[in-house]
Every structure is written in C-alpha cells, then in structure tokens.
C-alpha cells in the first residue's frame, strides 16, 4: 500500500465525529476617512511610511526626494515611465538583484494591520517586491478595508470577477527581524523601507508643497 493510502486510511479511521464549521465574525463598517487614518497610524507603528497624495506628480516628487541616489527604479505604473523602467516582465528574476526601488500598485490595504494585498500581475516578477532595496506601493485611498475578514471578501469577489492569482501576498511594512536579542532591525532580507501612497484623486495638492 502506498504511503498516501496508508495515511488517508489511518486518518479516516481515527478522525473524530463531524463538527460543524463555526460562522465567521461579522465585518465592522467604517468610513473611508476613519479607515485610512487607522491604516496610516498602524503602518507607521510597524515601520512603514504613508502619504496621502493627489496624483502621480506628487508621488514622483516624493520618491525623487526620498530616493535621490537610487540608480535603478522599476515600476508597474506607466505613469512613472519618466523615472523608472516599466518593462512588463523580466526573463530572469536574478537580473532584479540590483534594484534600488520598486514602485507597484496594490489592490487594497487593511486598516487593522497596515497590510497591503498585492497579486502577481502587479509585481512584474514575483521576486520584485522582496528583492528591491526599497518598496513603494500605491493604493487608492478608498480601497482600505477594516480587517482581514473583509480583505478575504474582497479577494473572493475579485476572483469571482475572473482575476485569479498564482501568487499573492500581504505586505505590512519593511522586511524586519528581531532575532538578535529582540532588537528590531529593519531590512532583514527584503526592502529596507516601505512607503504607501494613498491616492485621493479628489484631493487638491494646494498647501502640500
């Protein structure tokens, strides 16, 4: 008998009587302003930075200021073609090794934990959000959900609309470790910083410069 059949047989034999699945907790409702404010404060608490911006001009000027010494910037946003490579894909992910900054779209953020959901179609290459020295994500300000239950409802809705992923991830802040005596260090293996731009197209930039 194969190990598969042996394991399945033993599991079937030993599993307890059927137990019903419990219902999931209800998702709380929150207004956009409340949710984005919470998102920003949680993201900052976990080492990220957030900006509420009116458009790509503003994003570009902040990035230029923050990363003035970046030699190689890659972006999935055609709006940023004037400052970044915007190739649709790379044959070999190893060639991404020397990227200083990756600027990518993310579908939505989660207010309770500062996490941003990004599927591989927004990553150019799966390795990119991890291998870049710095990461910036762009989310529409209205696309902040309250918690993880709502997050998975969004993910299910996107899939029902025909956009399935092969790989996707929640990213919450810069790569970090506290393995050495619990001292928090940002930039373990992945990006040393994470910036999230919350895009509010109705906002005026007056007063921001």
């Amino acid at each position: 008998m194969s190990s598969r059949d042996k394991i399945l047989g033993a599991v079937k034999e030993n599993q307890p009587d059927f137990r019903e699945l419990p219902p999931l907790p209800d998702s709380p409702v929150g207004g956009t302003e409340q949710l984005s404010a919470k998102f920003v404060s949680v993201l900052e608490a976990i080492g990220g930075t957030a900006y509420i911006v009116s458009g790509f001009d503003r994003i570009a000027s902040i990035l230029r200021e923050q990363h003035h010494d970046a030699l190689r910037i890659v972006s999935g946003c055609p709006e940023l073609a004037f400052l970044a490579e915007t190739a649709a894909h790379y044959d070999d992910p190893h060639t991404l090794e020397n990227i200083d900054l990756a600027v990518l779209r993310s579908h939505f953020g989660v207010a309770e934990n500062g996490a941003c959901w990004i599927t591989e179609d927004c990553m150019i290459e799966r390795a990119l959000p991890f291998i870049a020295q710095h990461l910036a994500l762009i989310i529409r300000k209205k696309d902040i959900v309250a918690n993880m239950h709502e997050a998975y409802e969004r993910i299910a809705a996107a899939e029902a609309a025909g956009t399935a992923y092969g790989f996707a991830t929640f990213i919450a802040g810069p790569s970090k470790t506290a393995d050495i005596e619990q001292s928090l260090v940002l930039g373990a293996h992945g990006p040393r910083s994470m910036t999230v731009f919350l895009l509010d197209e109705e906002m005026s930039d007056a007063g921001f410069y």
Partner: protein, 457 residues
C-alpha cells in the same frame, strides 16, 4: 546534533547554572508575552476569534480525510506536485530525491519546524547536500551547531556578543562587534548571495487551504519569498494538520497568529502560493509522522489544532527559566511537551512533568488547546505505562502511604519541621532537588492541625 540522554530537569539544571542569563531569558520572553497581551486587548472580538479558530480546527480534525483529498486535487490542478510521507524518513528521502533529480547539492531553507522534527538537515548533510537556513535566528543556531531553542525566536537563548563571535568566526565580521544592526546587515549580504545562487528552496507552510489548493507562508524577514521566487524548484513541507477548509478562514488565523506570537498585528509577509511561476517546479510534501495516530487519541488529539505561535512558550514559567534546549525536542515548551510523547512516550516521558500546571498556556492559546489539562493527562498515561522515573515512582508510593495514614502523616510533618528548624543541612543539600536554586522557607512552629485544635473554640 548529538543524541542526548539527559532529561528536562538535568538539562534545565545546566541552563540554571548561569543565573543572570536565566533572569535575562525570563524577562525577554515575558516582555514578548506582554506585547502579545497588548495586541490581543486591541482586538475587542479577540475571544470570539479564539473560539472561532478553535471551532474551525475542530472541524478540520473531524474531516481531515476529506480535506486532504480536496487539497491534493486542487493543488495538483494548480500544477503543484503533491507527495505523501508516512514518516520522517520518507519525508527526508522525498526531499533528497527532488534534489537529486535537479542534480544539485545545495539548497536554501526558510523556517520549518517540521524539517527540524524530521532532522532533515542532518540527513541531507550525510548525503552531501549543503543546506543554508535563511531565517536569521536559524542561521545563527545553524552556524553554532545547535538546534533552535524556540519555534518563533530560534536563537532567543543567545546573547548578542555570542552571535557577534559566531559571525566573526563564520562570516568574517570584525571581532567584538555585537551591534544587532551591523550583524543583521552582515547576514543580509551573506544570505543574499545564497538566495541568488541556489536553485532549490525549501519552505515550511503555515496554512494550506483545501478549497483552493494554495498554501500560506508567513515571515517577517522575507526569506521564504526570497528563496522561493529566485529558485527553479520550490519544495514546501507540511504536517497534514496544517489544512484549513476555505481561504476565508485565513482571515481568522492571520489575525490571531502574529498577535499571539510577537504582538505584531500581522507578519510583514503573508504569502499565498497557489501555482508555480512559468518554468518553475513546485512540490508539496504532506507529512504524517505520527499525526494520524495522534488523531485517534481522544484526550490528546486537540493538540493537532496548534498553529505554532509559541504564545505558550513565552508565558510558561518553566520554559522561561529552563530554556528551549532543556526540552530535547524540535517543538519545545508546553505544546511540545504534549506533542512529543505522542511520537515517543518513553523518550519524552519527562516532558509532561516539566510544568507547574498553572494553566497560563491554555489561557493564551489562540486555538484554545487545553494544554495544561493534557499535560496532566499525559502524566497519568506515562505512569500507568510504567515510564515514570524510578525516583519519582518511589516518592509517589511513599507519599501515598503517608497521605493514607493520618498517624504517619502527623509524625512525618512534625519530624520534617524539626529537621528543617534544627538540622537544615539534612534537607537543604545537593541530594534534595527541591532546594536547587531555592532558599529555605521559614519553618512554622506547629502544623495547621495543631493550630486549629488549639484555636477552634
């Protein structure tokens, strides 16, 4: 790793020789426990979440057979190759066969307690395969030639000066530099080269979804992703109990996992692997290694609900003061003490006794495992099976005799008080384990019985 023959008490005794280190270890872990409390209290529906997570896992155990079949079907449809391993040996052989097929003798590996349980690294080393652990804490203990002492914080027992010395020896950092920022940067450079040159990456699995055939890997460092996305082959190893029914259930577990583990609201990366990327191979090894037997043990099966957050470690007064290595098993702490006897009751007969039964572990467990009750139940099973240490058995038999004879009990109490007051060295010596790292208590003049007789009027 050397096979050790010492029990928890003896190994804890070694750890306890360095008192300042014990205090530091204790405080550090308690600080993490406090961070956990703060994070949990920030979620008003926390208790409902625990209840829900527990309920989902109860359902998983009751339908594990169906979920395994469903997962296999979905994962296969997604282009993942699914393997089944009955035990540690078969698991290790499967991993080796994939490496041989690729004709490689090097691999990067992110944190996987299952591979620790199976002693994969040692096995592969014997076969001439070099494994590089890429989690910083795991890399530290790997270079030190030790197993992890904590499932979430593998080198929590090490001082930064010791880590500085290990890095000086192995990575060539300047002697005497123990700055965590500097050492982390050195590890980043050292491991980046490994990520870029290894063609096979192995990761653990935090959750696998039966409905969709995907699996989720959570890290703060990003090492699982760096390995998997740069390698031609990704091998993910999981115990069969890691399944959850539907993707939406991840919402419950991801809210609980890291808050319980470190007090963070979520890990930096919660990566959902569903299909290999073009020209990449993805393998999943489903490992039993005693779990299907454990599932049949009514009193103990609920420990299979564990999501490996280590909250029970951080809160445990025994773990904090005895260190992870004293448990001589891959998963230490209270949960390890109820999982290990299932694998080998004789070898791990000491572990259910490494507890005060205070119940703190059960109170922080995000999936509501009755850990301290199971510790207590394992004690009964172990003693009945004749696996209790001889000294303990003798002491218990004496105790039974004393407690069932009132006259003997009173005489023994009086004698004890007289000895402690007049010849304390007779009890406070190295032959009596109760006086290790403990001070003599004040001796009362009379017993409660005597006091009561005198004062009852």
């Amino acid at each position: 790793m050397k096979e050790n023959t010492k029990d928890h008490a003896a190994l804890a005794g070694e750890f306890n020789k360095d008192e300042p280190r014990v205090d530091w270890h204790d405080k550090t872990l308690w600080w993490i426990r406090e961070k956990r409390d703060k994070a949990a209290h920030g979620v008003p529906e926390w208790e409902l979440l625990r209840e829900t997570a527990s309920g989902i896992k109860e359902n998983v155990l009751s339908r594990l057979h169906e979920y395994l079949l469903q997962f296999e079907e979905q994962a296969t449809r997604n282009g993942i190759k699914v393997h089944w391993a009955a035990d540690a040996k078969e698991h290790n052989e499967i991993v080796l066969s994939i490496l041989r097929q690729q004709k490689v003798n090097q691999m990067v590996k992110s944190k996987s307690m299952l591979t620790e349980e199976c002693h994969l690294n040692e096995y592969l080393k014997e076969q001439g395969i070099e494994v590089v652990d890429t989690d910083l804490g795991e890399r530290v203990v790997q270079l030190a030639g030790e197993p992890p002492s904590h499932i979430v914080l593998p080198c929590i027992h090490k001082k930064k000066e010791e880590i500085g010395e290990i890095f000086h020896q192995h990575l060539g950092t300047p002697a005497g530099n123990a700055d965590p920022q500097f050492l982390t940067e050195a590890a980043r450079q050292h491991l980046r080269e490994k990520f870029l040159t290894r063609r096979v990456a192995l990761t653990g699995v935090n959750f696998a979804v039966a409905e969709t055939g995907e699996f989720v890997v959570c890290t703060n460092e990003g090492n699982a992703d760096m390995g998997a996305h740069l390698a031609d082959v990704h091998i993910a190893c999981m115990g069969i109990e890691k399944l959850i029914p539907q993707r939406r259930h991840l919402g419950v577990f991801l809210r609980l996992l890291t808050r319980s583990a470190t007090g963070q609201p979520i890990t930096t990366y919660s990566s959902h692997f569903k299909k290999p990327r073009p020209r990449q191979e993805m393998h999943i090894v489903l490992v039993d290694n005693g779990r299907s037997v454990h599932l049949g043990r009514k009193d103990f099966r609920s420990s299979l609900k564990c999501i490996r957050c280590a909250a029970c470690f951080n809160t445990c007064p025994v773990y904090r003061r005895s260190g992870g290595h004293s448990y001589h098993t891959a998963v230490a702490g209270p949960i390890g003490s109820i999982l290990a006897p299932n694998l080998d009751m004789k070898k791990y007969a000491d572990l259910p006794f490494a507890s005060t039964l205070c119940g703190s572990c059960s109170n922080v467990c995000p999936v509501k495992i009755d850990i301290h009750e199971q510790l207590y139940k394992w004690r009964q099973v172990i003693v009945q099976a004749g696996n209790a240490p001889i000294a303990k058995k003798a002491a218990m038999q004496t105790m039974t005799w004393v407690l069932s004879n009132p006259a003997v009990y009173h005489t023994a109490g009086k004698a004890g008080r007289w000895f402690m007051a007049n010849v304390p060295f007779a009890v406070n010596n190295s032959l009596n384990p109760w006086y290790k790292q403990r001070d003599m208590p004040e001796v009362p003049g009379k017993s409660f019985g005597e006091w009561y007789k005198k004062n009852k009027k």
